[in-house]
């Protein structure tokens, strides 16, 4: 019996639990990956005066709000529409179409957006010039006032936040929730003569509350630690205008060799995420048991 568990537990201890405790341990050290000196809570105290803290907090707020907005609006509408189409064939077609972008590597999606945003050759600026609005032309990713919003629009490219706005994981989660609504309930509502708005407001919306919460928590947690798109496009610049905590951590660890300090950033992020998860958890617990059928 225990033999069956040995491979799993070996991986678990070596690659999961060891780094986990090592992160907490080394957050109290000055650590370059080889040598470590104990410094107590100095790393955490230094965090407060880190000049990247201000921009990071602001940007993470922008990215999270944008993510929450995108997660709770467009895909929800799309899911309800797809679910209630009269033609089952068409709803299968849409489902197929909107799942497709999820299998496109997000790096490709983000790099395509980098091309769209290109100040000289990019289609967005070329379009603006072609239709006679050259005054709106911008260096979308290089303008410190705009760059973070340009990034918020792309989001994680298929990770379910930002572009593709409708076709994210969020849509699939909503659809699975809608599919679980028992047909008797809806049948009864139809017999009562409910309009599609009443149906949405009084039946569908309350019954997919769980899915809405899942998407909400998932989006917040994803966005708090996101820096994939940023490391690919701007690396936090220009200046600190697109800096986020994850990016700062990456810089400290792999550019400045300040791995103890980077671990401290990781610890703080983890604690924030843990609190958010725990708040949501007691409400979510019943719904996470996945039924594959």
């Amino acid at each position: 019996m225990y033999l069956c568990l040995i491979p799993a537990l070996t991986f678990l201890v070596v690659f999961s639990y060891y780094p986990f405790f090592s992160a907490f341990y080394h957050s109290l050290f000055k650590w370059d990956g080889v040598n470590s000196t104990f410094v107590g809570f100095k790393n955490f105290i230094d965090l407060v005066s880190d000049e990247r803290l201000g921009p990071s907090t602001k940007n993470i707020f922008i990215l999270t709000s944008a993510g929450v907005f995108f997660a709770l609006t467009l895909p929800l509408i799309a899911a309800v529409f797809i679910h209630n189409l009269k033609s089952e064939k068409m709803s299968t077609v849409y489902r197929f179409l909107f799942t497709m972008p999820l299998v496109i590597p997000w790096v490709v999606t983000v790099l395509v957006w980098q091309f769209l945003y290109d100040p000289l050759d990019g289609p967005i600026n070329r379009f603006l010039i072609a239709v006679g609005y050259p005054e709106f032309v911008r260096a979308w990713l290089a303008d410190p006032d705009i760059a973070i919003f340009a990034i918020a629009l792309i989001g994680g490219g298929g990770t379910g936040v930002g572009f593709p706005f409708v076709a994210g994981l969020n849509l699939l989660v909503y659809l699975s929730g809608l599919n679980n609504i028992s047909s008797e309930v809806k049948e009864a509502a139809i017999l009562e003569g409910a309009t599609s708005w009443q149906m949405f407001r009084n039946i569908e919306l309350p019954l997919i509350k769980t899915q809405i919460r899942i998407n909400l928590v998932m989006t917040i947690i994803t966005q708090l630690q996101t820096f994939h798109t940023i490391i690919l496009l701007t690396r936090g610049g220009p200046g600190y205008s697109t800096m986020v905590p994850g990016m700062a951590m990456f810089q400290d660890a792999f550019e400045f060799s300040r791995m103890g300090y980077a671990s401290a950033i990781g610890v703080v992020l983890f604690v924030i995420m843990l609190v958010i998860t725990l708040i949501a958890n007691n409400r979510l617990r019943t719904s996470t048991d996945f039924d594959p059928n």
Binding site: F11, K86, V107, L111, F115, S183, L274
Partner: protein
């Protein structure tokens, strides 16, 4: 699909589906969904179009195809991107096999047997679902460096298995625990030991969940960016995501080959998806609701 409750009139027309599309009450829905689909696919349309252009064609017109089509962009791009695809395929395949083996074995033990400490061990594994990669990334890197796995594909595969097994064990255990005991009873009567009832009873019956594990592992490994970025620096070992980021800096404004490279690297998964799109939808949904 759910069972619909709407009573559809028997199709009298020769093209009932087209009639259904044009149904008045669904027009707003179709309008919204079509606009959304257009916005979603338009960037990829530009990607497709530009991949066939040379520079003069690109500066002349980005919006539609121009003739002649420059297929040599693809030959050029494939010389660079081809090896990244091979590396990604190796890493992904090895990771998936590893995850399937490690997690199904552990899930089987947790689901079908009770032994001292089983609940505690299970909680120990599941609680890792709450640990984000930003926390463990730095120590994991130092660990992999000390193990001498920097700049090797093992440095991607082994931590990959460790990360993905957690959710896989969770899914598989729940599923295997629901399998009817009679089947295992019957196997035991036939003299099957633990190993045989795992291999001949539990595994074949768990295929729907195993396919979910395959798909979530496939997408996660194929798309992983930050970890390969810090572990791999040798160009011959780069996987697709970091390879493309590098390719981007090489080709700068040579848009035709650049976009051709992007297209080549999105093809493998897209082709898999076209064959098993239903499994993908299930796998993605399951992966999304892990907390």
């Amino acid at each position: 699909m759910s069972t619909t409750v709407k009573t559809k009139p028997k199709p009298k027309h020769r093209r009932p589906e087209l009639m259904a599309v044009l149904r008045k009450e669904d027009r707003v829905k179709h309008a919204y969904l079509l606009v959304a689909a257009l916005l979603t696919f338009f960037p990829f349309w530009l990607l497709f179009v530009v991949s066939f252009k040379d520079l003069p064609q690109f500066y002349h017109n980005v919006w539609t195809l121009d003739y002649p089509l420059h297929f040599e962009n693809y030959t050029l791009a494939f010389k660079v991107v081809g090896k990244y695809i091979v590396n990604s395929a190796i890493v992904t395949a090895a990771t998936i096999v590893g995850v399937l083996f490690v997690s199904s074995l552990a899930a089987f033990a947790f689901a079908r047997y009770s032994f001292p400490g089983s609940n505690f061990l299970f909680m120990l594994i599941i609680s890792l679902l709450m640990v984000p990669s930003v926390l463990t990334m730095v120590p994991a890197f130092v660990l992999v460096k000390n193990l001498g796995m920097i700049n090797t594909l093992w440095g991607l595969i082994l931590p990959g298995i460790a990360g993905l097994q957690v959710f896989a064990i969770y899914l598989l255990r729940n599923f295997m625990a629901g399998l009817p005991e009679e089947l295992f009873e019957a196997a035991r009567m036939d003299g099957a030991g633990i190993w045989r009832s795992y291999w001949h009873v539990a595994l074949p019956l768990s295929r729907p969940v195993l396919s979910i594990v395959v798909i979530t592992s496939l997408l996660n490994t194929w798309n992983d960016f930050i970890w390969p970025l810090i572990v791999i620096s040798d160009d011959d070992l780069r996987t697709i995501p970091i390879g493309l980021a590098f390719f981007r800096t090489q080709y700068q404004t040579d848009y035709g080959p650049l976009m051709a490279g992007y297209i080549i690297s999105l093809l493998p998964l897209l082709i898999v998806f076209l064959f098993i799109s239903r499994e993908f939808v299930r796998g993605l949904t399951a992966g999304a609701i892990k907390m």
